[in-house]
């Protein structure tokens, strides 16, 4: 954290030694790999839930694909005439890409804030907050800018379920569950009671 290449100088004459055992390490490639896996898993869970919710609420299981495709193509992707196969392919690619990027971002944020070894309940809260934030940033901030015609196109029930709840209760918690299960970067649990260490 104190790279000598930093533009910040340091005139202090000494740096006191610090003892302690490392409990996590930050290996970029490993974190990207696990972030991508977590994102893929969470994206899959989110996709399944959104397809199911669209089927139940609007009798149209493919609406999430149309919506994802419309980010690139525009509102015509929501028209009945738009080819379903194209919508499925493009929508899937966009969904997977965004899921991967968000998964990597989640694990990276945990690593940079030393939270890879956080207590499980805390990581679950991080996951839920991250899910809400992804929804809010993606749909309230980014979408109106890149695809303003897509805003206000869904009824409240679909939007509540396909939007904030599925992100908060499915996508984020799935990311968190992956981190809790796999613990990327974790070397040791700091809250374990263990007297076996050598002195």
């Amino acid at each position: 954290m104190t790279s000598s290449n930093s533009p910040f100088g340091d005139s202090r004459p000494w740096a006191p030694p610090r003892v302690g055992l490392p409990v996590e390490h930050c290996e970029p490639w490993e974190l990207v790999k696990h972030g991508a896996r977590a994102g893929l898993l969470a994206g899959l869970a989110l996709g399944v839930v959104e397809i199911g919710a669209s089927f139940v609420l609007r009798a149209d299981p493919w609406l999430p694909f149309d919506f994802a495709t419309a980010i690139i193509v525009g509102p015509e992707a929501l028209a009945p005439a738009f080819p379903l196969a194209a919508s499925l392919r493009l929508g899937l690619v966009i969904h997977v890409l965004l899921s991967l990027v968000s998964g990597v971002a989640f694990v990276a944020i945990l690593a940079l804030t030393f939270q890879l070894t956080a207590r499980p309940w805390l990581i679950m809260i991080y996951g839920m907050l991250f899910g809400v934030t992804v929804w809010e940033v993606d749909f309230l901030a980014v979408l109106p800018v890149i695809a303003p015609k897509l805003t206000g196109r869904l009824d409240l029930a679909t939007q509540v379920w396909n939007g904030i709840l599925s992100y908060c209760l499915v996508y984020g918690p799935t990311l968190a569950a992956y981190v809790i299960r796999v613990r990327p970067g974790m070397l040791d649990r700091w809250w374990r009671v263990d007297e076996s260490e050598a002195t």
Partner: protein
Amino acid sequence: MPSLPPIEFGFPLGIRLTHAFNILFLTLLIRSGIEILGGHPMLYFNDDCRPGSEWIRFTRKRMFRNQRWTAEDEKQAYTPWLALPGRDNLGLGRFWHFVAVLGWLLTGFTYLVVLGLDNQWQRLVPTSWTVFPEAWNAALAYLRLDLPSAGNPYNALQQLTYLAVIFLLTPVQILTGLAMSPALAGRFPGFPRLFGGRQAARSLHFLGLMAFVGFTVHHIALVIAHGFGGGLASIVLGLAAPTAAQQAVAIAIALTFLAALIVLHVWATRQSLQKPRVVQDVLQRIVDPVQTRLLQPLISRQHYSPHDITADPRPNGRPPRHEEYRNLAERGFNGWRFEVGGLVEQPLSLTIDELRTLKMEHQLTLHKCIQGWSYVAAWQGVPLRVLLDRCRPTSSARYILFKTFDEKWEEPGHGDYYGVIDLHLARAPQSLLAYEMNGHPLPVDFGAPLRLRLETQLGYKMVKWIRSMELIADYKDIGAGYGGWRSDLLHYGRIAPI
């Protein structure tokens, strides 16, 4: 109720300026707060701070469980890209934090005055209970990815959010920050208990910081959603209905401000790391008068219960290693004499047994380290005022210098550890030279044979392993002249009531 006149969405100059200063001081507060967190990167809801009982931590290491370590080992140096100034500079981080607090409070008061001068307060304060159903409708509109209709000028959800941030979150941050002051907690021990104790206050202070960060993210997201250019023109230029050109100007000014803010932060960070003494001098001149006037006169009235005593308190600092101290410790400090001299009419030289024959006091208090951790312990010893009555300081004596056995072997070349306190602090209640801790002779790890207890100050002012005490007129010619080893070397404050 009569309907209120409509408010132009464009903001008056006072609001716009205080908004800009708010950004400046909040960013300084957040970065310096991160530096302070690095001093003890763990948060608790118990004042014992038992290792492993923290609910959250921001460090990649843990301490050995069956090997000696001290609280200083738990520090985490954060990068200067994030913390101000970064690299384990707790002393300067605290100075920056307190200066930013003063600026932020001044900004806040100015903002409130501006709000009250005309009908600007209506932006924030709901005047009808219909604000709640209207806020619910606004929330539903956002959930539909739609924008709720404008209010007067905010919609109800915006109004309630801003109201909560300004009149709820901000006071909570101020109060939880104050609850960590040893002077206030010493004078009003019930105050931190309002929040569940010092550590709970520290945790809530951190959560408040997170709430501010979360609010900022949501605030920016919704400004973008409502129209970034228009929002910026309103808060930068004060225009209610800006043209495209005016929006472009507002964006340019906002970007310039952002660039200036970044330059200021980089400059402050570099100066702090490269010229820490200069920065310490400047910031101390701003902070010290406020602390001296408001907090330093407070006296401690702590009375904890024996049930509150922490079972396994943290030691801090490594005991002296030199031959003289080791020999004395092995003999139970028999043969050691505590010298009291300097500007006194009657110099004293007392053995530990003679100290025990003097009037003794007993107190149960909360030890508060500058790093952030704490513990409750019982202390027994001689009140400083008893010694002062016996040695009779001359009229020119203003400070007390404590010399120690601590040669600071782990950081050689910087002289023995010493501390200076104000004479009036020594005469205050619960200012003690302790020779017992929790009913036993003071352990070596906690400062045997004698340590200072000043219950309105942070732990680093309570010198351990005391060799002698000297009444002095000034401290400028001692060490680097900042009134203590840590103030000289680590840029800690000379006084530590917060």
